[in-house]
Symmetry: C2
Subunit: 337 residues, 2 copies
């Protein structure tokens, strides 16, 4: 198999003094049907949503795989937004990961009509040398053994977060439990948290997951917002109520991207501290996590307003700051600035 | 039929300068089974929960009906908390309204095992003369024609709120639509909002209900909190995450009681203004509604921590203020005081 590394890196928009973020996940071509329309073969995948969102705040390094049918335009969308594309493997002998989904009329559920892996299930991510010293690592949902192999390639990251989905809870529970021991935080949706723990209460499930390793558990509840548990900390926000829902795909991944992006920008100064070089994980201040929650919620509210990354691509920093203030007003608080 | 009025009114705890609140609803004897236990023939009913909660803040006048088997102790619990009991009809020839319910293991649903109306379905509330000039009127869920007849007996209330449930949406839709035209606000749970409007989105349903009359629509979402729509205003809060859930009965009614109680205390000064005597409804400041939402959420979080009114009865004002601050921290805001 001949592979080539696509190198494209330009136009970093985020503060270069931020901590950087390594994202490993799926780059996909999606066909999506929602109650308001259909888009064929658009840019999708957990890594696309996460890395675009995170790069609103911080430098993002991407590790993933694309195939022979990958439109160069999709590479450009991410790389021009500051996503370092040098970890993406271009497999010219296979097609890209493809997903075709259809949302129900009430957006409460979706059916997967087709998944074409095209060898993605055998892909073992290689973290390039120049990415191994990344500050924050985000392991998007994947086979836990693959997530662990990625983590093994990283040198003393300051924060490690992962996501997972029902398939891996079902089929690779033991490996997932091993991974949990190595995480600072787990993003998981509420149904999957209940599946993982066998508990019927989302809150109890989140507490139980914390006891399995992650310092922070970020429960994604879709239209009901999020719940975050950490050391002596409980946080929750509703989602931004919107009647302009277009496509919920990527809401959770861009939420994670917004949160970790915010944290990366928040801890920029640590880069120059002696602590930074030590093999220590970072203790996140609950007040920072609370702000991260707002930024993640704000970013996700843009994501769902368009197909593919269209909603995300329409964000500028003023709009994002205004949306965070909207969220503060929504919950009856005085905006901070 | 011989009826007698039980007169008992003592020990007002709330600020007597607050606006007063008239509550008309059900006084019930409940047998409740939840995953953590069972209580037989305890104090229940929408009016009990609402009036106890509201009387944490303001003077509450109660109109309802009890039967021959009503324990005097239950009267004492409410009247000693400042609920003016003089509008309660004691029907010595019939028993009290009785409800027996059982919650599912995950608290997501409940089954009604028995309802004994004992003539409550033929009860037509009479608002005593000395209650007719009440500032705020709360019409707990009942047949809409009965709710309207109560409202007809009230003289220029400043605010009128009502609640409704699936049964009346199903069987008396036209009468309910008539009632909506006369309301400042409707409390309704999200499933019932969708039922009323035929819309699959709770948010769209809430918008649609506003177009049917109520200035404010307060969507009760149980464990997912609440969503409030008003003039140029959208508010939302998650419920307080708690693993100490005991009995969710009355959460919605005490939430309403906490909200309207807070508003009553907030608008105390209006009592002495020339405006007060005019036949005008009150325009609620969105900032006050936001605070009311927090207090309602706080009160409900106590309710569900015990059977019957046990959770509510354990509240003191310091605990309530502390819980509101907890809620502000929960959503990542600086507590106000």
């Amino acid at each position: 198999m001949v592979v080539e590394i696509v190198v494209q890196f330009e136009n970093v928009r985020a503060d270069p003094a931020s901590m950087n973020i390594l994202c490993v996940g799926t780059l996909a071509i999606d066909t999506v049907e929602t109650p308001v329309g259909k888009r064929e073969r658009v840019l999708g995948g957990s890594a696309s949503y996460f890395s675009y969102a995170a790069s609103l705040f911080a430098p993002v390094r991407l590790v993933g795989r694309i195939g022979s049918d990958w439109p160069p335009e999709y590479t450009r969308i991410l790389s021009e937004h500051g996503v370092d594309w040098r970890g993406v493997m271009h497999d010219s002998h296979a097609k890209s990961y493809f997903w075709h989904g259809r949302y129900h009329a009430d957006y409460q559920d979706r059916d997967t009509l087709k998944i074409e892996m095209h060898g993605f299930d055998r892909y073992e991510p290689n973290v390039p040398d120049h990415f191994r010293e990344s500050d924050i690592v985000f392991l998007a949902a994947a086979i836990p053994t693959v997530q662990k192999k990625v983590l093994d390639q990283c040198l003393s990251p300051k924060l490690v977060f992962a996501d997972t989905v029902d398939m891996w809870i079902e089929s690779t529970r033991e490996e997932l439990l091993d991974l949990l021991l190595r995480l600072d935080g787990l993003f998981i949706n509420d149904a999957e948290a209940r599946q993982l723990t066998g508990l019927s209460s989302s809150l109890q499930a989140a507490h139980a997951i914390r006891s399995l390793g992650p310092t922070w558990v970020i429960l994604k509840k879709g239209e009901h917002g999020c719940l975050i548990l950490g050391p002596n900390t409980t946080l929750a926000l509703p989602a931004v109520p919107t009647v302009a829902l277009v496509d919920p795909t990527g809401a959770g991944d861009s939420f994670a991207g917004g949160m970790l992006g915010y944290l990366a920008s928040r801890y920029a100064t640590l880069q120059n501290s002696p602590l930074h070089k030590k093999e220590l994980r970072l203790a996140i201040d609950p007040a920072d996590m609370a702000q991260a929650m707002k930024f993640g919620t704000a970013v996700a509210s843009f994501t769902i307003g368009g197909f593919s990354l269209d909603g995300l691509r329409a964000i500028n920093h003023d709009q994002l700051a205004a949306r965070v203030q909207d969220i503060e007003r929504l919950v009856g608080c005085q905006p901070r600035s």
